[in-house]
Symmetry: C2
Subunit: 320 residues, 2 copies
């Protein structure tokens, strides 16, 4: 029997994608990104039944239609906002993602970003490297994290993990989500992000990306957060009105921001590089070896199970 | 009635030392450090009953004897290893410190240092600043914090706070202290630091400084920690055999270190600056505005209460 054809799209670290394992089950084609799919010969392309996708380019109807045998797109990551899920659904293509396995890492990084801003870790590193310590003495005092009041915008898996960690720092938890959640009665619910931002010292953004949440953290939310407030974003660059954020940071209308995600990453707005009140990471929320391996395993197993039994392990919510 | 004379030694940020408050109760003399006490006129010096001390120079018998009316040395900070407490005691001088108020901040920074090393925050910052992100893509994968196994050397106030925080990251807690403590049964006790180091991925050092613990984290402990192990030190530079640590870091016999404290700080060994596997801060464990104000308040209140009623609030353990 002929083996099924699978296309792997994206730049994977070795630990993220076990090619030998794919090849032991499937006929494998590989390209670095969506732009390169034009290089695949038509005879191959029309046979491809599954795509293992890693990337942040738009995976839309035009692309899906180029694969007439396609039945599954298995996304590497929990954010699948660039995949046109509804178009896929209409064409009978299921979309899977890799939830849960990365929540701990992303929540960990959210805390690290808060420390980066509050405790001025970047200034501390420079204080030593530039030799300022013996000359100017102690670095300037900074801001306590423990005992502060934090707000979580979006209490999904990752937001919940952020809140659980913050609790151990004696932080008072406030949150916004579409509905009140069945969580600790010590956590305070808000039905809108502006009132939440008014009540907290730090605002964590952990909502999904995509058109629905575009610019959700608006000028108004940033204004409510105020000149002592810290914004931490580990979701998607698109969830924040980035122009409003840059203005707020430049004019010190908020205290600072911890950012792992940006619009147009990796080509981020150069205005960010001029700021002293940001602590930035290059979208590395899930990028530990342990988690990336688990994500790669789940991506592979979604394809293996769906092609074998018609049952995927982790369908995106729109498919469930 | 003549006001009591108080000497304030050290470089304090404004928020750390409320001079107006001192002056409303006492006759106040101020010097920047112990070396400057020679500048105080004898007529003043012999009247000084209380010293508010901030610094890391040796405060020994020779210095104490220069103040014949002295009854209290109120240290700013929880570490008082440079003060000759037993000499003070013999001369009837009590020594106080500022415990508890800084435990949260120091524990917070300990966690931040772990993230700094494990999640390679310094590399992440550089990845963005140097423009590598668009050119080389994702930064190299790093190491998960959540779910790891951590060891605490010294389960005092700060060690305990570190452990409580780590628990929320689903970390398995192991610890060494002189005696087994009455803590969660999920925490594993070791009666020596070598066996502890063998069993964990990260080792936090939170023991007191001074001669007794000098070089406590020895070559043998570092060897037991091994090439995948991370060392975090928020105690004193002296608690680690620093030459052994530098050798281990240079030869990658341990994975990395997060360090807030050093021997001879602020003039730290320049070999540290050549390392890619350290995440360093300039002894800023307690340096938040909130905590430094609380430390200054406690230092002042120790003096006020002791001179008023003969009862200090927070005597160092040797005085209790």
């Amino acid at each position: 029997m002929e083996k099924t054809s699978v296309l792997i799209i994206g730049k994977y670290a070795e630990i993220e994608c076990n090619i030998q394992r794919y090849e032991s089950h499937f006929v494998v084609t590989q390209v670095n990104n969506l732009e390169e799919i034009g290089q695949i010969r038509k005879a191959e392309r029309v046979k491809i039944k599954a795509i293992a996708f890693k990337g942040h380019s738009r995976f839309d109807l035009r692309i899906i239609k180029q694969f007439p045998s396609l039945v599954i797109i298995a996304n590497f990551g929990v954010g699948y906002d660039t995949i046109s899920v509804l178009d896929a659904k209409k064409l009978g293509v299921v979309v899977t993602y890799t939830p849960d396995v990365l929540s701990d890492d992303v929540a960990d990084l959210a805390l690290a970003l808060l420390f980066g801003v509050s405790r001025q870790l970047s200034l501390g590193l420079d204080w030593i490297k530039s030799g300022l310590w013996p000359i100017r003495g102690e670095m300037p005092l900074n801001k306590r994290v423990s005992g502060s009041t934090c707000g979580i915008v979006g209490l999904g898996r990752i937001g919940f993990e952020i809140a659980k960690r913050l609790e151990s720092f004696k932080v008072k938890i406030h949150y916004f989500s579409r509905k009140k959640k069945n969580v600790s009665k010590d956590w305070t619910y808000y039905d809108n992000p502006v009132d939440l931002a008014k009540s907290v010292e730090t605002l964590f953004v952990s909502i999904i990306g995509g058109p629905v949440t575009h610019g959700f953290i608006s000028t108004e939310v940033l204004k409510a957060l105020g000149p002592k407030g810290i914004l931490v974003n580990i979701s998607r660059g698109s969830t924040i009105d980035e122009k409003a954020l840059l203005n707020a940071l430049e004019k010190k209308r908020i205290f600072g921001a911890g950012l792992d995600v940006f619009e147009n990453e990796p080509n981020i707005n150069p205005r960010f590089l001029q700021l002293g009140n940001v602590f930035m990471q290059p979208h590395q929320g899930s990028s530990t070896r342990e988690t990336r391996q688990a994500m790669g395993d789940l991506q592979f197993n979604n394809i293996l199970h769906y092609l074998g039994s018609g049952k995927a392990l982790t369908l995106v919510p729109e498919m469930q």
